[in-house]
Homo-oligomer: 201 residues x 2
Amino acid sequence: MAGQVSGPEIERLVQLLARVPGLGPRSARRAVLHLIAKREELLTPLAAAMEVARDRILTCTTCGNIDTSDPCAICANPERDRTTLVVVETVADLWALERSGAVKSAYHVLGGVLSPLDGVGPDDLNLAGLVGRAASGEIRELIIAVNATVDGQTTAHYIIDLLAHLDVKITRLAHGVPVGGELDYLDEGTLTAAIRQRTAF
Amino acid sequence: MAGQVSGPEIERLVQLLARVPGLGPRSARRAVLHLIAKREELLTPLAAAMEVARDRILTCTTCGNIDTSDPCAICANPERDRTTLVVVETVADLWALERSGAVKSAYHVLGGVLSPLDGVGPDDLNLAGLVGRAASGEIRELIIAVNATVDGQTTAHYIIDLLAHLDVKITRLAHGVPVGGELDYLDEGTLTAAIRQRTAF
């Protein structure tokens, strides 16, 4: 199927692009042709942006976010509320919450969730850092914003046990009907949570 | 929705990747996180491969293929049959035919098809080059391998008219049932063509 069509350089670019999530061998080939057709507008700036990313992106040693500075822009921002930490699984979740604009505090990226089936144990997550931050005395509330999956909830309970000795309030995201969601399409668990945790108008 | 989350460098990479066909704003973000997580294995070689592509990929002035040499490896290959030209719309089509291994001759890439609705006229295609090659006396057969669309067929007939004065045999790809295809899922046009152009066992 592969077959070397037009030079090892192009084939190598196709094969590397095919490993980017969201692209496969076929779409990578289409992407390469598009990149070459748009050399000045897209290929050149994209290659440059990748070099910048390769050379300058760091993982924040405080929260686990990625940025070109350490501490990251969020941790370094004096206007952020430093008494609350939002605990997320991944940087992607952090970005999603940032886009919502709902978080005015700092984050803590676990780097995953506990998953015995996948061989992910407590030592694989950034839990030591979380305990350290929570024990610093500065943190008053920890919002556990892990995914509403079994592994996510297991991880949440593990964190609650881990921090039980500290005087830190631990909260979690509300369950309920997504904004814009239609009841007919929601699962029973979500509807049950939405009824139980109903709020006054 | 966008919102600057973590430094202009990352945001710029996300926005450029989102313009790659097959990726959108959301999958570009996922891709960036994956690239940064796989910095050594993926990001670094991908950035380097893009630089090579940017600097070294040329369009073959003979056939319109892209390669790191001009003429391209196919045009320069002495084992290719130079009496037959396969006329395709795009480099992607050329690559698809090359993967099949069915073509032992050279190609001619039109760079598109005639499409009055999209404002694509004869001057927008590499037709002058095709006439020149066909008139050289070396070419005995032209296989028109454009897509089986209205615009593709219009273009095929335009080429036939254009080359009518030359002593060149013009053929086209067979219509029929795709190998592995199920009759039940095929359109009437394909089935009609498959019946009409049936072949002896």
